[in-house]
């Protein structure tokens, strides 16, 4: 196990495309670090640079205390789980699991022992003689995971490992990954585009956009104190509401700033009892709660505001109500840069 450190790492492709810029990131020993962001934000490139599959154009990468910037992947002692699993189609499950140890010249008895352990832990024992084409999606995913585990590497790298699973299996495997991380106490770098996956798995989450790091923080801090407009909108579901600052009374407003408020931090109250009037546009029942789409003002053409309300009392559409903001949970972002100002 080891820490991973990126120092001013950047990658510019020969065609001029900047995939990552000025990445400074320290991943502690045993930490589960999630890199998250929309597609094309540079998170996969960052992971591939840690793996050694891409070479940074500037900066240094350290694993443990060793500068690995110029080392090829096979000399970095890392294991990686690919989005497509990248199982070797011509080898059986057993051979797939043993491949990494065999490449590193481990003695046969060690290989057998570790492969059997991993097979037991991942419930792969009945399919050890099969080839990847004869496995289900979930089994393939577990083989890919097992191939990483048997190696007992310094660092585990995951590149969107759950995105090819169906929704139910994804949630199950997510919990399994969390248990696995706790059991192995391994350093993990995990890439995903799904903010929910990032929040549930990460000890810390690094949000990226356009090749830049936006914020690195534990999940709850990311949620409560997003560093800028982008992080605020990316994290949390349903997404944060952004309103022009002018909707608030002049005393509380910050000049030229945008107001952010999460749908959970707004209460719908009878008319006259709240901060602002609003017109109810659509009400979506979600079982445990209602998602209400409101329009500020009484005429139905104001700015949109999404509110999560308790299922009782029921709220009728096309009526005027009032909303009250949780004053302690207001986020203010500077107009130009989108930076958090309060």
């Amino acid at each position: 196990m080891a820490l991973v450190r990126l120092e001013g790492v950047g990658k510019t492709y020969p065609n001029g495309h900047v995939a990552a810029k000025g990445l400074d990131l320290e991943i502690h020993d045993g930490e589960f670090m999630v890199l998250v962001g929309p597609s094309g934000c540079g998170k996969s490139t960052a992971l591939r640079m840690i793996a050694g599959l891409e070479t940074p154009t500037v900066g240094r990468i350290l694993i443990g205390d060793k500068d690995v910037t110029a080392l090829p992947p096979q000399e970095r002692d890392i294991a990686m789980v690919f989005q497509t699993y990248a199982l070797y189609p011509h080898m059986t499950v057993r051979q797939n699991l043993a491949f990494g140890l065999r490449m590193r010249g481990a003695p046969q008895d060690v290989i057998d022992r570790r492969v059997d352990e991993a097979a037991r832990a991942l419930a792969l024992e009945p399919v050890m003689a099969r080839k990847p084409a004869q496995l289900s999606g979930g089994q393939r995913q577990r083989v890919a995971l097992g191939r990483a585990i048997v190696r007992e590497p310094k660092v585990f790298l995951f590149d969107e490992p759950l995105s090819n699973l169906d929704a139910k299996l994804r949630v199950e495997t997510r919990a399994e990954l969390a248990r696995l991380h706790r059991r192995l106490a391994a350093t993990v770098v995990y890439v995903t585009h799904d903010q929910e996956e990032a929040m549930t798995l990460g000890s810390r989450v690094a949000v990226m956009r356009d090749g830049f790091l936006q914020q690195v923080a534990p999940p709850m801090e990311l949620y409560r104190r997003p560093a800028n407009l982008f992080v605020a909108g990316f994290v949390g579901s349903p997404g944060m509401n952004f309103l022009p600052g002018e909707v608030m009374p002049a005393a509380t407003r910050k000049a030229g700033a945008t107001l952010g408020i999460r749908p959970h931090d707004v209460a719908i109250v009878p008319r006259g009892a709240g901060d602002l009037d609003a017109w109810v546009d659509v009400v979506e029942p979600r079982g445990s709660e209602l998602l209400v789409y409101l329009r500020l003002g009484t005429s139905g053409d104001g700015a949109e505001l999404r509110v999560v309300a308790p299922p009782e009392p029921a709220i009728e559409a096309e009526q005027v109500v009032a909303v009250r903001f949780d004053q302690g949970r207001l986020h203010w972002f500077e107009g130009e840069s989108g930076k958090r100002v309060g």
């Binding site: 793996a51 050694g52 599959l53 090829p72 992947p73 096979q74 890392i78 294991a79 990686m80 690919f82 497509t84 990248a86 070797y88 189609p89 011509h90 491949f99 990494g100 490449m103 590193r104 084409a133 191939r147 190696r151 790298l157």
Partner: protein, 270 residues
């Protein structure tokens, strides 16, 4: 209702392409005299005299041996060197790759006749006329570009993640190539090998120009030189044709599944 005309077109095509073959096989078993007096489309009187003459009077074993050695060596070189070359072109990033690929293609495009004289002079000064290397080396000039181009295509179809996984797993690039890429590209490599073998086996112009006597002549050259000043031994020529076609046909039949797989690899997933 099924249309009748595609069946007719197919039938005509099959008959058109199979008839010469049928006739060659039939004629090779028909006595010479009968071939010119009363040829029949149905087998009447079958004899083995042409085949016997081929191997007793003409020593047809020697051109077969020569062809096997030359085509086999050419194929072996092409596949081993070509595979490494094609892998580099398919996967590694380096300057001038496109130019290099174009150049390799261009080398294979020269009309053979235009390079016969320079090659002859070159081989003579190297004392390689009438030797096996003297045929294998020129064959590589047209077979290698073919091999490389075909295999670049096959390698490109394999997902790059498999090698990346292998390298992360601790394999060097060469080991990843050997243990992961080669086994997966095997159908493609087999296809390439067969095509290369067939081209080298059938090659005529170089074989005629760079050999001097029967001890190094290949099958096509030997057959062409069967005709004497006063007579054309059609029966023997056709028997030799059958013998020359047989190994290639057997090879293709044996690997038929692989070839089809190779030619369509990656067309459908799974």
């Amino acid at each position: 209702m099924r249309k009748w005309w595609p069946t007719l077109v197919l039938a005509l095509l099959v008959i058109g392409s199979a008839f010469p073959l049928y006739w060659a096989v039939l004629a090779s078993f028909t006595p010479e005299a009968r071939l010119f007096q009363a040829p029949s489309l149905l087998p009447r009187e079958l004899v083995l005299e042409h085949y016997r003459a081929l191997f007793t009077e003409r020593n047809f074993w020697i051109p077969i041996r020569n062809s096997l050695i030359v085509a086999g060596t050419t194929t072996a070189f092409c596949v081993t060197i070509g595979a490494l070359c094609a892998y580099a072109l398919a996967r590694l990033q380096f300057r001038g790759k496109v130019v290099l690929l174009g150049f390799i293609l261009a080398v294979g495009m020269f009309p053979q006749i235009s390079v016969v004289s320079p090659l002859y002079l070159l081989l003579r000064s190297l004392h390689l006329i009438n030797t096996y290397p003297g045929l294998v080396l020129p064959y590589l000039t047209f077979a290698m570009p073919l091999t490389v181009w075909l295999m670049v295509g096959f390698f490109r179809q394999l997902p790059a993640e498999l090698e990346e996984a292998a390298m992360v797993d601790g394999a060097s690039r060469f080991r990843a190539f050997r243990e992961v890429i080669i086994p997966l590209a095997l159908p493609g490599i087999a296809t390439t090998a067969i095509l290369t073998f067939v081209y080298s086996w059938n090659e005529f112009l170089f074989a005629l120009s760079f050999t001097l006597g029967p001890d190094r002549q290949t099958v096509p050259v030997a057959i062409a030189l069967f005709r004497g000043m006063y007579q054309v031994p059609w029966g023997q020529i056709l028997a030799a044709t059958v013998v020359a076609t047989a190994p290639v046909t057997l090879l293709v039949l044996a690997f038929q599944r692989r070839i089809v797989q190779g030619l369509t690899a990656g067309a459908v997933k799974g």
